[in-house]
């Protein structure tokens, strides 16, 4: 069965385009604004939505996404409400939706129930940042039962032998982390030469799957510089920074939409 995600990457590839993957925390600043904002983001041309289920202790995230998670939790966001958001959003858009989270809220919800509920709400996959392949056996059967991929990550620190282990049994796309560090603007600038080397290693190890690059990609210029190397690019903290700066203002959805259009021009 071809999934929405596979179709998206195949269509883009056929047209010679790259995917813009946007990370947005669900329920930030509140449920209704989030829904409006997500619709605007998809309408503006986002190719894949990475929708964040907030967690109290996001140890892989930098300050911007940490703050987004806190705002979302404060507004009463739960796993069940994120699924409700997906269901509402799915009425308006065919954009593939990857649910991004840490493992604990998912485990707490119940893995079998979660996979079923996420599939029926219209989600297309999961990315669990603290669930490496070695620990994924517990969640894998539930996801397989609903034909949903668990997106796997490869880091600059991952040696080639391990890249093969990660690529085996991966689905959807491979998420290649472009620098060592947490999400968002860190101390180190992106190093295109090093990233090119990393992506070439990943290609040799994986072959088949689309590759998306993420972490520290902030501007249309970043997007332009990295797009030739990969099948897609992930922008997260830069988007959430706009949410942070415009939360509570009526023009928030338009600000996010115009940033996405600007990034798309780089692709």
């Amino acid at each position: 069965m071809t999934t929405r995600l596979d179709t998206t990457f195949a269509t883009l590839k056929a047209a010679g385009h790259k995917a813009l993957v946007g990370y947005i925390t669900a329920g930030d600043p509140d449920f209704d604004t989030s829904l409006t904002l997500l619709r605007a983001a998809c309408d503006a041309g986002l190719d894949v939505l990475e929708l964040g289920i907030p967690f109290s202790d996001p140890t892989s995230d930098g300050p911007v996404i940490q703050a987004a998670a806190l705002r979302a939790l404060k507004s009463g966001m739960t796993v069940a409400r994120v699924l409700k958001l997906v269901r509402e959003l799915r009425r308006h858009t065919e954009t593939p939706i990857i649910l991004f989270s840490y493992y604990n809220p998912l485990l707490s919800y119940g893995l079998d129930r979660l996979a079923k509920d996420a599939a029926s709400a219209g989600a297309d996959g999961f990315l669990v940042v603290d669930l490496p392949p070695e620990e994924a056996e517990e969640f894998a059967p539930a996801l397989a039962a609903v034909n949903m991929p668990l997106i796997r990550l490869i880091a600059p620190t991952t040696p080639p032998g391990r890249m093969r282990l990660i690529a085996q049994g991966a689905g959807g796309f491979l998420y290649v982390i472009t620098r060592t560090g947490v999400t968002g603007a860190g101390a180190h600038a992106l190093d295109p030469a090093a990233i090119r080397g990393e992506v070439e290693s990943v290609r040799r190890a994986s072959g088949r799957l689309p590759i998306c690059l993420g972490f520290g990609i902030r501007t249309a210029d970043d997007v332009r510089a990295l797009a030739p190397m990969a099948d897609g690019l992930v922008v997260g903290s830069a988007l959430m920074k706009i949410v942070e700066e415009h939360a509570g203002k009526p023009d928030l959805p338009q600000k996010v939409a115009s940033f996405i259009r600007e990034l798309k021009q780089g692709l």
């Binding site: 109290s56 140890t59 604990n104 998912l106 485990l107 919800y109 490496p132 991952t158 947490v182």
Partner: protein, 407 residues
Amino acid sequence: MTPASSGKSYPDDRGHFGPYGGRYVGETLMPALIELDQARREAMADPAFLAEFRALLKNYVGRPTPLDFAARLTADTGGARLYLKREDLAHSGAHKINNTVGQGLLARRMGKTRLIAETGAGQHGVATATVAARFGMACKIYMGAEDIQRQAPNVLRMRLLGAEVVSVTAGTATLKDAMNEAMRAWIGEVQDTFYVIGTVAGPHPYPVLVRDFQRIIGDETRAQILEQTGQLPDLLVACVGGGSNAMGLFYPFLDEASVAMLGVEAAGDGIDTPRHAATLCKGRVGVLHGAKSYLLQDADGQVSEAHSVSAGLDYPGVGPEHSLLKDLGRVRYTAIDDRTALAAFQKLARLEGIIPALESSHALAAALVEARQRPPGQSICVCLSGRGDKDLDHAMRAIARFGEARS
């Protein structure tokens, strides 16, 4: 007792203690954890490494620490004889140094030049800064802003030892958030930095690594009690925050069916109030800081705030090996509230001339309850995991709030 039923044969190769433990971290850290596990296995099988570790424990830390019969405390309590394992006498004031000497040696062996650590009460931060100074390494300690307030003397100590203390204001500004921030820092500088985790928690191999460096507490206790009484103890008691002093004391005795064990968590305002840190008594299974274990969390899987008068026990998680030992029934876990711990804190000062850490005061309070219920022929070994100098200001204010205990 067979190793499987006692829990002594764990973890497996991938760091699982039955259903607990494992490695739940982002991919950036996975290669470093695999490398650390390899280095640990090689080091722990290398007689030269172990000899250097033992020599430092003897000459630098001051081991063995005494097993001290508390005659007046025993007489006052009535019942079983109380022995104190005096980790408060270890260099830098707590058992934490056993582990930091071990990890510091391992860091040096791996060619790492920078140490980072999280700290709650500050004891692990001090112990890490101490070892960094001794080995000539750079050192950065992440500490919750609230803990910096209530453990001020340890902050001064860390700075004097040459460490940089980073104030963490995120979340609840306590140990959990300090550990979050240390993990984030490690992700950014994982190639040249060694993360010194202070307890038997975190991703594999930390729980087994820390246990193996701390088991010296139990190994010594076993030899000392046999020498002093000719018999094994009837009960071991230790406080459990993350659980490193408890694992260190318990582990060498796990196969001894006649030795009962009691882990003591912090009940804060009371175990039936929302303000406590009794993870094993009241939590449910979850994943935090890289391992699956019992966890204080809400119905939606968000981690709860822990509360305790003792900064070192103020943690919503617990080491995965304790979760297994609880499920196996090998160790019993209970909780002591702030008021009862503070009473034990004062009692030990007045009856034995020893000012215990507030963390250790929880173990002591539970041991007093147990001693009263047991005949004088029995013996109880309590791990006095640290000294209380660091707690004086904070403890005195708390005592004033509760009213002074009568001894």
